[in-house]
Symmetry: C2
Subunit: 587 residues, 2 copies
């Protein structure tokens, strides 16, 4: 099925929800206006829908194939990737001094969504390269930047993150890959890394692995990890690519989804690596770039949700089945006419647009935090990141499942395509930190550490939106009332968690994921609600009448169907800790 990038909604989110009034005044971005951005997104949208979207089903069917140490990518990927490089899309948000276009992250988020909606397996390669670029920009030496950044930003080389080992998943302190310093200042890296996305493939002339490893005299646990650049092929002083390094792909995984994205087991045998920054600070560096990677995975959730929604909507329009329940028509009608199909479609749409609105707002905060010295904005951005990751990834699974359901029996047949989203989306709540890890990050680092200060500022901003909605029409007021109820649930849960974090830490963490989902649902509903006032203003001016009317309809549906879930999360947090902690399991 074709993919129609939702450029109008992406632009709505940038203009009205991404703090554009501030982002556009930052020195780095003041050269761009909304017309430039619209043009850039339209260009990328065309590329994604025409060149990439057709690959998704083929790639899923063929999968990446492993043959004797080499990975062969599915048909069409090489050509599409070559086009991606030729058009320079990897450069979108990166600094001009290394060949980037320098667009803000607000725009980058929109681009990541479109590429991943077109084909999530394909989108993972640039996503990981972005991560490597970010790491080098933040922590690499000038020489390292000079060597690696230009080809990575051009997309000629790709990047990987090598964290996981069989015994070290969420618990990176258990990493045991060794790195031994050599006389020439390089390191010999030895060990086995698993789950390495695009760890081996044939799309680029080189692959730059970023590897967490441990020097011989490093302290045990997470504080003894260092970060290394290990190029798949050695790079000469003039930047040319030479002999293979000692990094071998042992196998790739047979996965539930994203089958065209090779997930490699990599064996390092005294491979040549180069230390990034200082020894034993590897995990700290990883955390710096983790926010960006986690945010992008959240955006992947929005992407698969949008694609699943478009597919279900198209099917619901075409499929004729049963007379309407109100008896007004005697013939069978398209199933989109049946109330429950509408309910499922609206649920898919409001979860998707809610995630998009929240992600746009967060991207704006990240842009501002990156370019202004404003610790409050930075704290708010960091508070939002696990919400984007947690909400959008968990909801993507739900949305994809609804997409299967709307297709009925056809949804269970692989050829239809709905099942692929159900399979693909399932990795999102797992990689780049599971939902529980996001929840620990939220509760531990971003709520308990500042004793709820940022969380309370988040709530206060919502209260301001409620006040604005109270001045609107009956619909705006109804949305505001639901929002207030959800925000009250959030605040009560917050205070309970803060109190218990001091006296019963297990009880507090028993509510960590419910709190993450409460906060994420609230944030998405808030941002949709915030869009009501500008949508109404546009309507009053007679602009984009259908689109703006439906923005308000989506916000109202979210307020009445999704926000009520916040009260269940509140109940779980306040009343459910002991029943959870005290239960025992049979041997």
């Amino acid at each position: 099925m074709s993919y129609q990038p939702p450029v109008q909604d992406l632009m709505f989110c940038i203009e009205h929800l991404s703090h554009w009034e501030t982002v556009s005044t930052l020195d780095a971005y003041s050269g761009f206006d909304l017309t430039d951005i619209d043009a850039a997104l339209e260009g990328y949208a065309r590329f994604c829908s025409e060149q990439i979207a057709p690959l998704s089903h083929i790639g899923d069917t063929l999968g990446a194939q492993f043959d004797n140490g080499r990975v062969k990518m599915p048909e069409g990927d090489a050509q599409a990737y070559a086009q991606f490089v030729e058009m320079g899309w990897q450069a979108l948000t990166h600094p001009p001094e290394f060949g980037g276009m320098g667009l803000p992250r607000t725009v980058g988020a929109a681009a990541v969504e479109m590429l991943n909606a077109a084909d999530m397996s394909f989108g993972l390669c640039p996503l990981l390269t972005d991560g490597a670029i970010e790491a080098l920009l933040l922590t690499g030496s000038d020489e390292q930047k000079a060597t690696y950044l230009e080809p990575l930003i051009a997309g000629r080389w790709s990047g990987t993150m090598n964290l996981t080992e069989p015994q070290a998943g969420s618990d990176l302190g258990r990493v045991s890959t060794k790195a031994v310093r050599r006389a020439d200042g390089s390191y010999g890296v030895s060990g086995t890394k698993i789950f390495i996305t695009y760890g081996a493939h044939d799309l680029t002339e080189n692959i730059i692995h970023l590897v967490l490893a441990r020097t011989p005299d490093a302290p045990a646990g997470p504080k003894g990890l260092s970060l290394f650049i290990v190029p798949q092929k050695m790079v000469a002083e003039d930047g040319s690519v030479g002999a293979e390094n000692s990094v071998n792909c042992i196998s790739i995984e047979h996965k539930l989804g994203v089958r065209a994205s090779p997930t490699a087991v990599l064996e390092y045998k005294d491979a040549t690596g180069f230390l990034i920054g200082e020894e034993n600070r590897g995990l700290e560096y990883m955390f710096i770039m983790m926010n960006a990677a986690r945010f992008s995975v959240g955006v992947q959730g929005i992407a698969t949700s949008e694609r699943a929604y478009q597919r279900a909507l198209s099917y619901a329009r075409d499929r004729v089945q049963s007379r309407p329940v109100n008896g007004q028509v005697k013939d069978a009608v398209a199933i989109i006419e049946h109330p429950d199909v509408r309910r499922m479609l609206m649920r898919m749409r409001s979860l998707t647009e809610g995630g998009r609105a929240m992600a746009a707002a967060t991207a704006g905060l990240l842009d501002i935090a990156h370019h202004q010295d404003d610790p409050d904005m930075a704290a708010l951005a960091e508070f939002m990141v696990p919400l984007v990751k947690g909400f959008c990834s968990e909801r993507a699974v739900e949305v994809a499942s609804l997409g299967v359901q709307i297709h009925g029996g056809m949804g269970f047949i692989e050829e239809t395509g709905a099942a692929q989203h159900y399979r693909d989306s399932r990795i999102l709540p797992i990689y780049e930190g599971t939902t529980a890890i996001q929840a620990n990050d939220l509760l531990g680092r971003k709520v308990m550490r500042d004793e709820g200060e940022t969380a309370r500022r988040f709530a206060a901003r919502i209260t301001a939106t409620e006040a604005e909605l109270a001045k609107g029409d009956a619909t705006a007021q109804a949305i505001g009332a639901s929002l207030a109820q959800a925000r009250n649930a959030f605040e009560a849960a917050l205070e309970w968690l803060l109190e218990n974090s001091r006296k019963d830490i297990d009880a507090a963490f028993a509510g960590s994921v419910p709190f993450l989902m409460l906060a994420g649902t609230l944030a998405a509903g808030w941002k949709l609600a915030k869009g009501v006032t500008p949508a109404q203003a546009a309507l009053n001016d007679g602009q984009n009448t259908h689109f703006m009317t439906q923005k308000i309809a989506t916000a109202l549906f979210f307020a009445q169907h999704i926000l009520p879930e916040c009260s269940a999360e509140h109940a779980r947090i306040l009343h459910g800790a002991r029943s959870l902690l005290d239960a025992a399991f049979p041997e």
Copy 2:
């Protein structure tokens, strides 16, 4: 991973929740006591865990294969099926006069759960055969019964249900397969049927297809359908199997899950069929047996949930990762020690046991309704069936998804096995009537038709359980309080729906699935709550201390973590109809 049938919990449900005090006094079943049943279940449990459970992963990997009009079943299936027949398990609940063992449906439900937990793909063959037996028992002529029942009940032949056609899924009125009466009284059946579970396979010497078709002068729509027996191979007067009928398997589907269960496209070309009952009453006959089939699909949901839970529990015990958040241990611990993993496990367990408790109660009602002339019991049983189907199938998807999540990255690797449950379970809310069809059945046939009378009796029974819990300890009282809140939400939603069914039918049906999920969640929570008093009594007697303590823990968790969802469903029903119906979709 091995499967350990939960016989102790199945027996607890039969003894305390399935109305056993009445079922055991029915003439048909008064010959069985709980010791007999326990022995039968233990025997079947051994068969399922030893002979069937090992097939599940192999079957998923190999799948049923189509080759030139024939279906080849995965390795091991033929041998296991032969054993199934030899041990006579198909006969479990069927009447002794045709070779059955005559055990009640309460026991049958437990058996269906165990077989489907062991291997859902395998379990579908006997499940469909049960459906065909049921149809013949209820509507077949004496001659038809004499010809077909004994070999079906012995398991030597299998049965299928042929309803769906490409244009006729949920909307069976659109069935266009033709049946033309011949001079000898048989019919020539012609048409194409799709999604026929076990429509072709090599496990039995014959396959008995039950086919919905339309005679030439039949009225249009659902009232012109007749039901036919179409044997795959013709049956001689002496019962021997002869020449092939004109029914051909054109292809089988490439599906998301239950891959070892062949889903056939069958082409009928003037195939010889025999009318069941009278012409034009086919859909009515189908509805009689639909309750049984829908109930069984609900039980399949409990089955996959149990298997997914056992797999996740085992992984959570083995996988060591990260120190506990309370800092009491300095080393990494098994992940079952982490609060959020416990939360997910308890969620899986309580949803599974809640479904089992509800299914046991419903099976008992069906037994009583079948053997006693009690219209109130029959109405209550029929009210419960869509709840069992809707709740257990939707929750199975959720439970399987949690099972993947607990496995982290390993959950996404097919070899691990968790992903199979996530794929397999996804068909459950679709086949035998989608969740929306169950919800229409509940709201239209079982609530609106008697103006809420049965639904109010259902609520009154819950109130009685609340009163009983109020006499118990603090835990019992807490469970009772949550139950009362959920029951209040149900009653308010019920009255709103009844009122709107008269003045705004679209608004009522906009809330049909939320109402189904509200009622299903309430019913499961109720039955777990009802188990608290006998569990406490057993504890007071010092019996099965660990098991009984955990029955109460499960009920408490369900009350505090799952029942609060009822309030969100209530809000959707009462306040969400207009936002759903008024939304428009872009062209």
